[in-house]
């Protein structure tokens, strides 16, 4: 097993899971980043969703909150050894970005509403959230502690 901490990057509409001592990071604009972490087994992941609900025949489940979150939770249990009871969630992003994004103008808010609804249905507690605004988020998950370092553009780093 590789014990040297590595940082893995999560792309837009994608998800990654890793164990301590590794880190995960992503950048978020109007998208929402859902960080799930199980402190008992020190396993965590980031799901980077783009839209609240799946439309059409798109096979990429992780782009959408309604298909991505149940899939992500199942993967964390199956492949990471996490348990639903000890899993906790932190959510970030959902900013209002460029107005040229057309219909995507208020998508950040809709994304957040859908994520909160699904996490409640799944029985997973949100222990921290930093959402909204007009600037991007740079988040880094440390799977050794479950801490998330969050830097909003132009602001100091905060730990959640």
């Amino acid at each position: 097993m590789n014990d040297t901490p590595n940082i893995f990057t999560v792309g837009v509409g994608d998800a990654k899971i890793t164990k301590s001592p590794h880190h995960l990071k992503t950048l978020l604009g109007s998208c929402i980043g859902i960080v799930l972490y199980d402190p008992m087994v020190k396993v965590g992941g980031i799901l980077h969703i783009m839209l609240p609900k799946k439309t059409g025949n798109d096979s990429k489940l992780t782009k959408y909150a309604d298909t991505g979150l149940p899939f992500f939770i199942a993967q964390l249990i199956k492949n990471g050894g996490a348990t639903r009871n000890s899993m906790q969630a932190k959510i970030f992003g959902g900013a209002k970005m460029f107005e040229t994004a057309g219909n995507l103008i208020n998508i950040g808010e809709k994304n957040e509403q859908e994520v909160r609804k699904i996490l409640k249905e799944e029985g997973i507690k949100i222990v921290a959230a930093k959402t909204g605004g007009t600037k991007g988020y740079n988040i880094l998950l440390d799977t050794a502690t479950g801490n998330v370092e969050c830097r909003i553009f132009g602001e100091p780093v905060c730990i959640y």
Binding site: G13, C31, K135
Partner: protein, 201 residues
Amino acid sequence: MVISPERLRMLEIIMKLSIDNASRALSKTLRTGAKIGLSKIYMADFNATTEKMNNDTREMTGIIVNFKGNLGCKMLFMLPLEGSIILTDYYLRQPVGTTKEFNDDTESVAQELGNILASHISNTLVSDFNAKLLPEPPQVHNDFAGIIFSSLVLEQGILCDQLLLIESIFEICKTEISCYLFLLPELASLEKLLDAIGVQK
């Protein structure tokens, strides 16, 4: 959607012409050279590209222009935040260092540079493609490079996992400023235009 190598080659020629026109216009506006350091056209996987760009946390100024008409397209001109402050002084013909921070002047200059680039790119595409391209007012946003890039590709990424990207880098002479220009044509309307001008599939 996959675009054939023949069509990519044809597009590369047309796009290089339009980017060359844009760089000349930029040089004239700033009264210093804007040398093209790289220019390429390629099909990109949405996930792989955004994953790579999400590593880029440099503080940048992004100018996005949406084109309407029979060729849907987006343009992103992105430069380091401190670079946009220096270019404000170039544009306003004042000594470098006069502008100390990003302000209303810097934002106006960024919008103006976006307008100049968009109009020169669209002029070339209109004449070579017989396309109708109407640039909308530029939107300026300061943020991490990866966030600005994601804003460009997000809408197309929802519809399709593949993107056709045209990427150029302009080096501004007498400075160390590198500016990035991305064009993101909408694939379906682009294919129709290529059909209309008889480019082999």
